[in-house]
């Protein structure tokens, strides 16, 4: 049997990729380790290597095919003098045939339910929206610069800064050593003088190395100086769990940073959020923590065309209106809440889904107004429950809207454990649409799916 060469997963979060070009032709002899094709993921271009010596018998997916799902057979490798099966015979594998080149296999992952607005929009990934936000603000203000690990020549560990080095040069797109405490301190010092650094953390997990400067240098200096010295700086990067990267690379820092006066903290979900909030962050004269999410980087949404589109801080967005229960979420958990709402709707429960967007300042007014309508509130937080943001929201709702509540303000949080690696355990540790739906049912006094 010829060996099937499958589309590989080249990163923890890769679900599909583009077969850019074949480096070998049908009939070519190949050795184990020879590069057969170039695969483009949303992060990088990588070579697909042969796993055996043999003859490249048949190419199943032509060059320049987009959206090839992981594990799709790409080609057949003939080994030990095998010959190619008859070209007209049945496919050599029971697996479905690869998608035709003209039709992208994976449709757009998410449809952003932006409020109906007369804005002209275009489709864009979160990744592109973040890059455009930085590029536009760097064009607008020569004091804005980007620094971090791999932001320049490598084009960003997650390709967020793609193209920025070419446009702005190494003075304004600064590749740093792996030295979070040092480069964060450097950026704060530069910000004291009025420059406006954007510090990219490869992930927010590494911000722990630098948290002294985020708090003691960036957040407190304006107050300690009696208003003389500000620190206009942005700290951004992916936050929270990605996919199977283990406990040290999977923490959600929402409540850590939202706890601290002197900081502003935002957590975009959609590409429009990403662009509008990051632009606001760069223009803001204060230190702003922008908590992105790696799993959202490749997702596509509508983004307004207006280059001056910004989203003010402290304004939550009602993504979906409903009368029975308020679901509050931010970042990737907005999608989890929307999926739960979809399930609930089929059971006759209409959930209002609120995308918090801004964690500090917190738009408590929008939450209170929603609770006055729905009388129930459930917060979905990826991070740990103890002293989390969901706990803060529950406290404020009790203080502000106690008389409107028909059920205790509640929460679905990440499990109170370091995030496990095993796929099943990781799934269990994070809020899922079904756990959110189950908690919502309980609050609405529904005991089971469809029950009343």
């Amino acid at each position: 049997m010829p060996i099937e060469i499958l589309m590989p997963a080249l990163s923890p979060t890769m679900r599909e990729g583009r077969l850019a070009r074949w480096l070998k032709a049908e009939g070519d002899a190949v050795k184990s380790g020879d590069a057969l094709a170039e695969i483009e993921t949303d992060k990088a271009t990588m070579e697909l290597e042969s796993i055996e010596d043999g003859i490249l018998g048949r190419i199943l997916v032509p060059a320049e095919t987009d959206g090839v799902a992981v594990n799709t057979p790409l080609a057949l490798l003939l080994v030990d003098g095998e010959t190619l099966p008859d070209a007209n015979a049945a496919p050599p594998s029971p697996q479905p045939a690869p998608p035709p080149a003209a039709a992208p296999a994976a449709p757009v992952a998410v449809s952003a339910a932006l409020p109906a607005a007369p804005l002209a929009t275009h489709r864009q990934t979160v990744r592109e929206a973040l890059r455009d936000a930085m590029a536009e603000e760097m064009r607008r203000d020569p004091d804005v610069f980007l620094l971090g690990e791999e932001v320049g020549q490598y084009q960003g560990a997650y390709k967020i800064s793609q193209g920025l080095l070419d446009e702005f040069g190494p003075k304004r797109v600064v590749d740093t050593p792996i030295t979070e405490m040092g480069f964060t301190g450097l950026a704060c010092g530069a910000a004291f003088t009025g420059l406006k650094p954007i510090v990219e953390f490869m992930t927010f997990n590494f911000s722990l190395q630098a948290i002294d400067h985020i708090l003691n240098s960036a957040a407190k200096t304006r107050y300690m100086s009696g208003g003389q010295l500000s620190c206009p700086i942005v700290f951004r990067g992916p936050n929270g769990a990605a996919a199977r990267v283990g406990a040290q690379h999977s923490q959600d820092f929402s409540s850590w940073y939202a706890h601290c006066p002197g900081l502003k903290v935002v957590a975009p979900w959609s590409a429009a959020d990403a662009k509008g909030l990051l632009k606001t962050a760069i223009r803001d004269p204060n230190p702003v923590v922008v908590l992105e999410n790696e799993l959202l980087y490749g997702q596509t949404f509508d983004v307004p065309d207006d280059p001056d589109f910004v989203i003010p801080f402290g304004q939550a967005e009602i993504v979906q209106s409903g009368r029975d229960i308020t679901l509050v979420a931010w970042s990737r958990m907005v999608q989890v809440a929307l999926d739960a709402a979809q399930t609930l709707k089929a059971e006759g429960i209409e959930a209002e889904v609120i995308n918090l967007r801004s964690l500090r300042p917190l738009d408590i007014d929008t939450l209170v107004a929603s609770v006055q309508k729905t009388n129930r509130i459930l917060t979905v937080e990826e991070g740990w429950p103890v002293a989390g943001l969901a706990a803060e929201i529950a406290a404020q709702i009790v203080e502000r809207a106690f008389d409107w509540l028909d059920a205790p303000p509640s929460r679905v949080c990440g499990a109170d454990v370091p995030l496990p690696y095993a796929a099943n355990l990781e799934h269990l540790a994070l809020p899922q649409p079904d756990t959110v739906a189950a908690a919502a049912r309980t609050l609405c006094n529904r005991t089971s799916e469809g029950g009343a």
Partner: protein, 338 residues
Amino acid sequence: MASKTRSPSPIPPPTPATPPPEELLRLYRSMLLIRRFEEKAGQLYGMGLINGFCHLYIGQEAVVAGMQAMAGPADSCITSYRDHAHMLACGLDPKGVMAELTGRSGGYSRGKGGSMHMFSREHRFYGGHGIVGAQVPLGIGLGFAHQYRNDGGVAHVYLGDGAVNQGQVYESFNMAALWKLPVVFVIENNLYAMGTASARHAAGDELCARGAAYGIPGERIDGMNVLSVRSAAARALAYARAGAGPFILEMMTYRYRGHSMSDPAKYRSKEEVSNMREHHDPIDRLRQILQDQGVIDEAGLKEIDRTIKASVAAAADFAQASPEPAASELWTDVLSEA
């Protein structure tokens, strides 16, 4: 405490000309102001008018006075929590500094910072930082900004002998050398990291050599002699200003008082302290030079003393008369208006 060059400088140092009389007098006034200010701060602390942490610079005056004498017009300065002297040397008003120590609204931070946290953008003095070593990466950020703006400034980054064991200092040495940032690291080696003597906390002999692996030249300087400090400052600042990268100056100095006001300093002998005061005092040494060279007579010295005492007394009066910050100040200055 002999001066010793660790690495040859690619740039010939400017000849350290003997300072003209007026500059000798400026150095003397600068050191004396620091001495009298710190003595007064100690008195006010004893009277309960200053609280919390208060770290006095008495004995170390030659370091910042000599460095600042060579500062260029665009240079910036940052230091740790033993910072009153740096503010005075950078030109901040003693009244505003003392009023911050008493926590009054007339203080540089309107009473909200305290002894360790004062700033002046006007004088390019960037604090006043309470976390040991944290001012070092912040300081190379000042250097980064000088380079970014190409304004000809050099960042003067002060750290103590205790701070040199912090990891972020080496992260800073690396980036400053890699990018040739205009920075002079001034290690104020007063021999004790709080109560722990250098020999008990620092491996290796000379802290000025701690940048050698990064190619950063370093010199150990007699930090009790303001003229040695001044000429070293000229060399190091010229090197950094020319774009050759950072430079380390290890200033061998001594604090006469404890680490902070609450430190009885039992980790060293009375003899050690009195020997430094009697034989190495930087102000006495410069006064001797002034008299030997006939720059000023006894009456002139007395006049300087009287003027400085009066300005310090005025600062102390201001610091006591200035009202406490209004209660509404609790909530201001957390964020800038967006």
